[in-house]
């Protein structure tokens, strides 16, 4: 697989390590009332879809940036690559922090 890095252009997937579902960016708020349940679900449960999947890749053998890659888990086709920091910054802030 070739991952089209937003800064470096097309790079071999072998330069990257894989973490998993991009929902891992959305860490629950630690003082939330249901924090235990929320952290359990965050850490252990996955949607694991067959088809479009947003996932975190780390450019370990490159510029060490985290990417959010949108990839089809049935065909391995990659349709979108974003910097994970851009994805994280675009999230709405949790109410308690606003």
């Amino acid at each position: 697989m070739i991952i089209n890095h937003p800064l470096l252009g097309p790079r071999d997937a072998q330069e990257f390590t894989y973490l998993g579902d991009a929902s891992l960016i959305n860490r629950p708020y630690w003082l939330s009332e249901n924090a235990l349940r929320e952290f359990h679900d965050y850490l252990y449960l996955r949607d694991n879809p067959a088809g479009k999947h947003r996932e975190l890749w780390f450019h370990e053998q490159g510029d060490r940036s985290w990417l959010v890659v949108t990839r089809n888990t049935v065909t391995h086709e990659i349709t979108k690559v974003e910097l994970a920091r851009d994805v994280a910054k675009a999230r709405p802030k949790p109410e308690v922090l606003q």
């Binding site: 072998q14 359990h40 449960l45 996955r46 694991n48 990839r71 049935v74």
Partner: protein, 416 residues
Amino acid sequence: MRYSALRLIKESLTGHKGWRPQWRDPAPQSAYDYVIIGGGGHGLATAYYLAKEFGGARIAVLEKGWIGGGNVGRNTTIVRSNYLLDGNEPFYEMSLKMWENLEQDLNYNAMVSQRGILNLVHTDAQRDAARRRGNAMILNGSDAEHLDTDGVRAMYPFLNFDDARFPIKGGLLHRRGGTVRHDAVAWGYARGADMRGVDIIQNCEVTGFRIEGGKCLGVETSRGFIGAKKVGVSVAGNSSRVMALAGMRLPIESHVLQAFVSEGLKPFIPGVITYGAGHFYCSQSDKGGLVFGGDIDMYNSYAQRGNLPVVEDVIESGMSLIPALGRARLLRSWGGIMDMSMDGSPYIDKTHIDGLYFNGGWCYGGFKATPAAGYCFAHLLKTDRPHDIATAYRLDRFMTGHMIDEKGQGAQPNLH
């Protein structure tokens, strides 16, 4: 029809005209007591033991394609009982004991061959870990033997013993481990279940569950609604997709694992060898092909094929262990989809929905577990209680802190 040498002689004298199909092809009835989703090794074994050992009546196995077409037909056929942790080892030991008696029980030639599994060690730390695991295996009734370098050399003189980086320092030998003809396991269980009245319904895809008031009443399928008092899901590889139909999210990711077979060679690997310095294991099939594999591809996948970098990695590992491998030509490679769980161990459990039961999360170790998983899942379906030997395989163990993490990797499924 019972198979025997006498029968074979009789058929060979009469032109083999007396053989009958090994199972029927029934149309689905409107309702069953038990519906098992998934006609793979585990699903068929579950139906078999449910009918044979637990007196279950009116049982159906639903399979979206043909039976034995998933992971039971795609694995590398190894059976073993060499785990470390208490939650696991007694279960796999029970499974290995069932393998030892499987062919007599099924009256079916599954080519169970206890040719021994050797886990090589290359460092002092690995030797310590192997001895510890060997002791844990013996404590749980399995067998383990430590070999030094000379012991390994006597068995496999062609290995690369003096590699500068990873010299072979010995190995943990598990003599009762071995290989089984994988397809015959599915067929044997299917025939045994069918003989006991189980309806094996192929080309019948489950498209949804009918759940009312927290109770599962049956399944919607491509061949209409089928009512059931109890539904057991046994669809490893696609567990997340099927359970999503019941609104559940699982502690599972699907990953692709590749396997390889070379052209047929004269016998030279009598047992199973696993490399301790890279992810590589190898055995030789009765047809002569070297059957080998290594790591999963590391990313979520439902494609039953992998990528070339992992092919290269596996074969590099193989070459560094068995230099002679370079003379063999690769015949085939393929991929299967693994339910990679969050701690590397499986689930056999009730769900929060009444009448809906789940068996999955077997990572790449589901084949060896087939008899015990079928037996324990049948026990759970029949009695609503886990079998004594499978009490640790709970779906909620991450909430309660009772993980069974053989490798100590944490909640990172692709590392288990």
